[in-house]
Symmetry: C2
Subunit: 269 residues, 2 copies
């Protein structure tokens, strides 16, 4: 087994303080890299904050992909030789805002994903993406990207899984909902199931701390191809997991079953 | 709220002893009805047993739908005025064996479902079904049926959910797999996720006791529309839950989201 160390980073942010949030995100990448991570995942909208007052504020806190945030992340990915997946408030070439995630490595920006399933007030600020999650060949394996509420649609997770992803990285901002005593957050249960039915490890980076009255699950987690949580806390806001990403290539369940080959898509329409 | 009491029954069986297994299944229905259940779910292949030596034994333990097992279940459903969902080793009109589940109520046999996703050695004995899970209007609500490994395919659960099911009943035989200390069986995690992403309660009846060296999860569970386990033990092999099945009609998640309307099926192909 060749283990790949995957880091998911829980960031606190202050909406409207992009410079401070950007610095915090870069510090998180450096801590993760020093801890041996080869893949680092940051939350959704990691620098702009999430709870915008109105569309004007969302726009004021957006950046193009050649803006200061993604530029700084690209430099950090190169400096530390990591695959970095992080969420950004993207002002796209067409002028629309997108709730996007970028995948960067030592060679620069490799992929941009635009969230296709928008949550709650995001619908007021962002245009949904129309393209499936990218699957990117990196030095450590084939890595896919989606964002937060996208994970609630098993059909969406199937797409990169069927396309050969070996790890799915998901920046999220999971707002906290009540749950029965002793239960894991439902969001984590759904991530586990998505991993299990695809034999696909999933790495989720959530945010922490209240923002304008909204609280968050703080649900950073990495689950393995069997869907079991395997990440461990490794310092403030840092969670690490060592994964053999090649396990995701084997979809067999015993001698006669296969989580993908046993599908009957002709019956699913 | 009008609560409907749902019973899931954990049966031990002896392969090759259909008369004893049938009697045990009828006793379970009676216990459940006496406890106030209006819906009763029995395990997969509830009378034939599961671990067949060979195709000849599987065939010898099969029955047509007008055989003694389904006939006795229909009488029990009428006598107790319950909706009964149970798994049977069906010898179909075309001569093929099917791993089927029947839905019966006071008026008799309402639907037959043939398992579409076959597990392991079932592929040696059974022909897979090609029809989607039925959704049946009953006195207590719209009830759908599927069997065991079918639950591992979120696309399959979507079909009855989108068709308006208010409760999904699933006879299963869940073979036991190792899992980390303190974790729920993965099968239950996947049932929870299926319920959550559809806001659809699910009732699962599993078997118990080893059979020819195979052990089982014994994972009888009812989860509500939020995916949380709500069943409680109520006597030997009997688990009860009181569900307001009308909750399944409301797919909203807050003011701007809906687990079904937010799907983007045009992107899922």
């Amino acid at each position: 087994m060749t283990a790949t160390r995957v880091a998911v980073c829980r960031l606190a942010r202050v909406v409207g303080e992009p410079a401070a949030n950007r610095a915090a995100s870069l510090a998180a990448v450096e801590r993760a890299a020093r801890a041996g991570a080869r893949v680092v995942v940051l939350p959704e909208l990691a620098v702009s904050g999430y709870v915008f007052t109105d569309a004007a504020e969302a726009r004021a806190l957006s950046e193009p992909l050649d803006g200061p945030t993604v530029t700084a992340w690209a430099e950090a990915a190169a400096r530390h030789d990591v695959v970095l997946v992080a969420g950004t408030n993207e002002r796209a070439a067409d002028g629309a805002l997108r709730n996007s995630a970028v995948l960067l490595d030592a060679s620069g920006l490799r992929a941009v994903y635009r969230k296709a399933h928008l949550w709650d007030r995001e619908k007021l600020f962002f245009a949904p993406g129309d393209a499936p999650p990218p699957v990117v060949d990196t030095a450590v394996g084939r890595i896919a990207v989606m964002v937060c509420y996208d994970l609630e649609f098993p059909e969406w997770v199937r797409l990169p899984a069927l396309a050969g992803a070996e790890l799915l990285c998901a920046p999220v901002n999971w707002p906290a909902f009540p749950r029965p005593e002793g239960e894991r957050p439902g969001e984590v249960v759904r991530v586990q199931a998505n991993a299990m039915v695809n034999r696909l490890p999933i790495a989720v980076a959530d945010r922490e701390g209240p923002e304008r009255g909204v609280d968050w699950v703080g649900g950073c987690v990495v689950v393995d191809a069997d869907g079991w949580p395997v990440s461990r806390p490794a310092g403030p806001g840092l969670f690490l997991a060592d994964l053999d990403l090649t396990t995701a290539r084997d979809k067999a369940l015993g001698p006669r079953n296969d989580v993908h080959a046993d599908r009957r898509p002709e019956l699913y329409a």
